[in-house]
């Protein structure tokens, strides 16, 4: 039987999840192999060199750079406080002496008699790395960080904004195809990972920001709404550092599109668990370049969690007759169906280009031919 391979986003009730939690520069690792950690625990800490402030001392004193050495009141390596005089000019016959005060606290890193510039290094800045998910330390990278391992329910989104956050799951929509609008955001969703169904509106995001929601997960979003939320038109899909007070994960794409039923059901199951919903770790960071990074929702599993149903699964990534697929390009964007034929010969498309295609039987009974590049596998 003809087979093809196409990437799909991962939606799994049970997967081994590993997070490499590394410091940007060497530092101290606070955990050891085998430790149980919670998502909010700090696993490694370091200090990076403080900010640098150049001070044009000789020009402030009005003296040649070459004279600076004899006028300095502090020397290389000295600690100084803000306002402390760094150098003093001799004046004329001892009169009209000028001083150059330090604009910030720090340490004198260098004194240049070529440029008359003094480089001031500020206090070290702390950098901490948290565990991000509940789990166990599987490996420690000395001076760098740790590998956290857990068994988790794992959902990959297609696009997101905002960075890492943790909170309990709360369902705003009752159906996977229900749009998420402002009326569905409630005050008790503060700090929660709010799950919608289809398209989330800009008004809903604003209401969520006002309510202090940690993250929103929904099927689609309009580009014009995203522009309104960010305050600018997003040019390239490299996100994660937005400072908008909320993380957003879109599971399917732009426009009116419902969340995949399976994804919705999976999240809903964890929202019903316990009084306030199970905690999820969410990251909106997306990088669609070589080495793709997609946004994610991770929920660490507990031994008491029900075993996920084990259906017959196709070989991962394999495309064959009957495989469930989503069409990901206009004119059929967002439609679901199953593969009904995999012709091996390329076909001429409506655009005039030649490409390898497949036939898909849509949910409404129609049969359409689409390029193989324009479908995505849905794991069942």
């Amino acid at each position: 039987m003809a087979k093809a391979y196409t990437p799909g986003l991962k939606v799994s009730a049970r997967a081994a999840y590993r997070a490499r939690r590394l410091l940007p520069v060497h530092g101290e690792v606070l955990v050891k192999v085998g430790d149980a950690v919670r998502a909010r625990d700090v696993v490694a800490r370091t200090y990076i060199e403080g900010d640098v402030t150049p001070v044009a001392v000789s020009s402030q004193l009005g003296v040649p750079a070459g004279d600076l050495a004899s006028l300095m009141l502090v020397k290389q390596g000295d600690a100084v406080v803000a306002g402390q005089p760094l150098a003093r000019s001799k004046g004329i016959f001892g009169l009209g002496k000028k001083e150059c005060a330090s604009p910030a606290a720090g340490t004198i890193e260098s004194i240049s008699t070529t440029t008359g510039q003094v480089i001031l290094r500020g206090a070290p800045l702390p950098v901490e790395v948290k565990a991000y998910v509940d789990g166990r330390v599987a490996e420690v990278f000395p001076n760098e960080g740790a590998l956290i391992e857990t068994e988790a329910a794992f959902v990959q989104g297609i696009f997101g904004v905002g960075g890492e956050t943790v909170g309990p799951i709360s369902m705003a929509c009752t159906r996977h195809d229900q749009p998420l609008d402002a009326a569905l955001i409630k005050p008790d969703m503060k700090g929660a990972i709010v799950v919608g169904g289809a398209r989330v509106t800009a008004a809903a995001v604003k209401a969520a920001q006002a309510a202090g929601v940690a993250a929103i997960v929904s099927g689609g979003i309009d580009d014009s709404d995203l522009k309104e939320i960010l305050g600018y038109d997003l040019g390239v899909a490299i996100t994660g550092t937005e400072k908008i007070g909320i993380t957003i994960v879109i599971t399917e794409g732009f426009g009116d599109i419902a969340m995949a039923e399976r994804t919705f059901a999976l999240l809903e199951g964890f929202a019903r668990d316990g009084a306030g919903g199970r905690e999820a770790s969410v990251n909106g960071a997306t990088q669609i370049r070589a080495g793709v990074m997609r946004p994610e929702i991770v929920i660490a599993r507990r031994p008491s969690d029900a075993e996920p149903a084990q259906g017959a699964r196709p070989e991962e990534g394999a495309l064959e007759i009957g495989t469930q697929v989503r069409l990901i390009r206009d004119p059929y964007f967002g439609l679901l169906g199953s593969v009904s034929a995999l012709p091996s010969e390329p076909a001429v498309l409506g655009s005039g280009s030649k490409a390898r295609v497949l036939e898909v039987k849509l949910g409404d009974g129609r049969s359409v031919t689409v390029p193989r590049a324009n479908i995505e596998l849905i794991e069942t």
């Binding site: 640098v52 580009d223 390239v236 426009g255 990901i328 390009r329 280009s353």
Partner: protein
């Protein structure tokens, strides 16, 4: 013009050209490794096979040579000759009768994000601009340009440098014998920022100093431990002179010795290769320079990719390259629309489209970049975006490719009538002889007419300009081949690389629509005559092997190369499309009224047979 200067700096193995028969070349891109086989056929050289395989520089393979071996294995299967041994290495031909192996293997690379640099100079428009030109010309991606007058406060500049992770830093500044203080000040800001190299660990960040030679001792003192400093000749020894060769050479050396050596598998790849591995865009620039020098042409080449668009130009022997980092057709498609404005994109579309839906479509392409247009409507929109991406990239290129800024020009009385300030663009659309297209949306357009029309609409060439496309993007391979076997490279370039599309014959000037713009007469292998009113276009089919004489007579407001109102006669060889006559004026003006505009765009599409 001689060959690109840096080529002479590398040691090239002595190869007897008469013994060569099979040459393999690869280009290791970020996602795909493309291989070609160049063979001696009869007395000449031809590109005979091509193959590709996924690049294997990332985990789980982390060895670039695996992808190279895979692509060369496929080439071997196509050619009926074994090039890869069981141990994965390249087989060398032992004698004239050896049924396996090659005689020469060479490669370019842009894998792992290519060569990423930070450049610095004292004045943004002068030494820093020269440093940027040197880095871009060597094939680098310039992450940031630091200058004393870049409108940032010193601490902001330092903060920025700290955030970047360059492969190397190039510092220039000051003319020889001039002010020392300013360039030392720049060095003093870069050193404490301690930019962390991409490869981390024990890697010492390479810093190339190409500024005022009198400041070199102080610069050496500043870049001590943690840096690998190299001092080369000043790239701006005087204000009137730019000397980019030594800095470019050093960039290539450092690229090979440091950057490449740290990328997975490159030590092996370097040992396989018979010539130094070149950064991909550097190789494209080199072959373009050679062609321009040999044929005495002014040429522009564009490569539009998913994320970036590269523009290369050679005018009067001066080479320039720019990279528009966020103008592209998949990853960057949304940025093209944001930067140009959706209204600018839609002016190339002759059918009604809903803006909200289009915005969502653009973003859906951005997040699923591998999808392809299925319907005719989707293709029209994609090619409209391409026109704007190309237009913006070319505008950026023109802004960058200028005469040296800060130069006091000596003028004669005659110059008073054509005064040009320093810093003018050297890209002259009227003097452009050859425009070469490459990159998916241009190379894989369903119709060659569409490629030609996209080039004309976005570059707006004036007068007579030959249009061509790189058949299978082999300019990088030929660029590196030219460094060891220039004749073979030039021959393959002519015979197999370039697909001649034809000519754009376009009038410069503005006029009222409907009034006469120019008349044309084509004679020889093909005969045709016509008169075009402003706003009209026409296509005369002249095949690649057909030669014709073309005479154009413009109205007095229009110029086709000889001056306003003056006729021009040229003998030209045709192409797969033919001759596109264009009386839409320069700058190209589209009707403001949407209905008129749509009608005009539809008419042009019909006349140039792009539909």
């Amino acid at each position: 013009m001689s060959a690109p200067s840096h080529l002479s700096a590398h040691s090239v193995p002595a190869i007897d050209p008469s013994k060569l028969r099979y040459i393999l070349a690869t280009d290791c891109g970020s996602t795909t490794t493309k291989a070609i086989l160049v063979e001696r056929v009869g007395n000449g050289w031809r590109q005979t096979q091509r193959a590709e395989a996924p690049t294997t520089v990332e985990e789980p393979f982390a060895d670039v040579t695996i992808g190279v071996s895979n692509s060369l294995t496929e080439i071997g299967e196509l050619a009926g000759r074994r090039f890869i041994a069981d141990d994965g290495t390249i087989i060398r031909r032992k004698g004239a009768d050896d049924p396996d192996g090659c005689d020469l293997y060479i490669s370019t690379s842009s894998a792992g994000g290519g060569l990423q640099m930070v450049v610095a100079g004292v004045v943004a428009q002068m030494t820093a601009a020269s440093a940027k030109r040197a880095a871009l010309g060597a094939g680098a991606i310039v992450m940031d340009t630091i200058a004393s007058n870049d409108k940032r406060k010193p601490h902001e500049r330092i903060q920025r440098i700290r955030e970047l992770r360059p492969d190397m830093v190039l510092i220039s500044g000051g003319t020889d014998g001039g002010n020392v203080q300013q360039v030392v000040q720049i060095a003093e800001q870069i050193a404490p920022a301690k930019p962390r190299p991409r490869f981390g660990g024990e890697y010492e960040l390479p810093v190339i100093y190409a500024g005022n030679k009198d400041a070199a001792p102080q610069v050496r003192g500043i870049f001590g431990k943690g840096f690998d400093l190299a001092v080369v000749e000043n790239l701006r020894p005087t204000l009137e002179q730019e000397n980019l060769g030594p800095a470019r050479d050093k960039i290539h050396d450092v690229f090979l010795e440091h950057v490449m050596a740290h990328a997975p598998g490159y030590d092996k790849l370097i040992s396989w290769s018979d010539a130094p591995i070149m950064p991909t865009p550097g190789a494209v620039g080199d072959i373009l320079q050679r062609i321009a020098a040999r044929d005495r042409l002014n040429a522009v080449c564009v490569d539009i990719g998913g994320a970036t668009t590269d523009v290369f130009s050679v005018f009067d022997g001066t080479f320039n390259r720019t990279v528009s980092a966020n103008l592209g057709m998949s990853y960057s498609i949304s940025n093209v629309c944001a930067e140009a404005g959706l209204d600018k994109v839609l002016r190339w579309v002759h059918i009604d489209m809903d803006e909200r839906e289009l915005r969502n479509r653009v973003k859906n392409k951005m997040i699923r970049p591998t999808t392809i247009p299925q319907s005719a409507e989707a293709l029209v929109f994609e090619q409209a975006v391409a026109r704007e991406a190309l237009r913006l990239a070319y505008a950026q290129h023109k802004e960058f490719a200028t005469t040296l800024k800060g130069v006091q020009q000596q003028r004669t009385v005659g110059d008073l009538f054509s005064q040009q300030a320093s810093g003018q663009t050297i890209v002259d659309d009227m003097r452009l002889d050859l425009l070469v297209a490459s990159g998916g949306v241009l190379s894989h357009a369903p119709k060659m007419e569409q490629t030609a029309a996209m080039l004309v609409d976005s570059f707006e060439p004036q007068g007579f300009t030959q249009l061509a496309k790189d058949s299978i993007f082999m300019m990088p391979h030929l660029g590196v081949l030219a460094s060891v076997q220039p004749e073979a490279a030039m021959e393959v370039f002519e015979r197999d690389c370039l697909v001649r599309l034809g000519w754009s014959v376009a009038a410069k000037g503005e006029g009222k629509w409907g009034k006469k713009c120019f008349s044309y007469r084509v004679s020889g292998a093909v005969s045709a005559t016509g008169e075009l009113a402003c706003g009209d276009v026409a296509l005369v089919r002249v095949g690649p092997e057909q030669e014709v004489e073309v005479t154009v007579e413009p109205a007095k407001e229009f110029d086709l190369g000889a001056g306003p109102g003056k006729p021009v006669t040229r003998r030209v060889k045709g192409g797969t499309v033919g001759i596109l006559f264009d009386a839409r004026g320069r700058p190209l003006m589209l009707p403001e009224n949407p209905a008129d505009r749509r009608a005009a765009v539809a008419r042009w599409a019909n006349l140039w047979e792009t539909r």
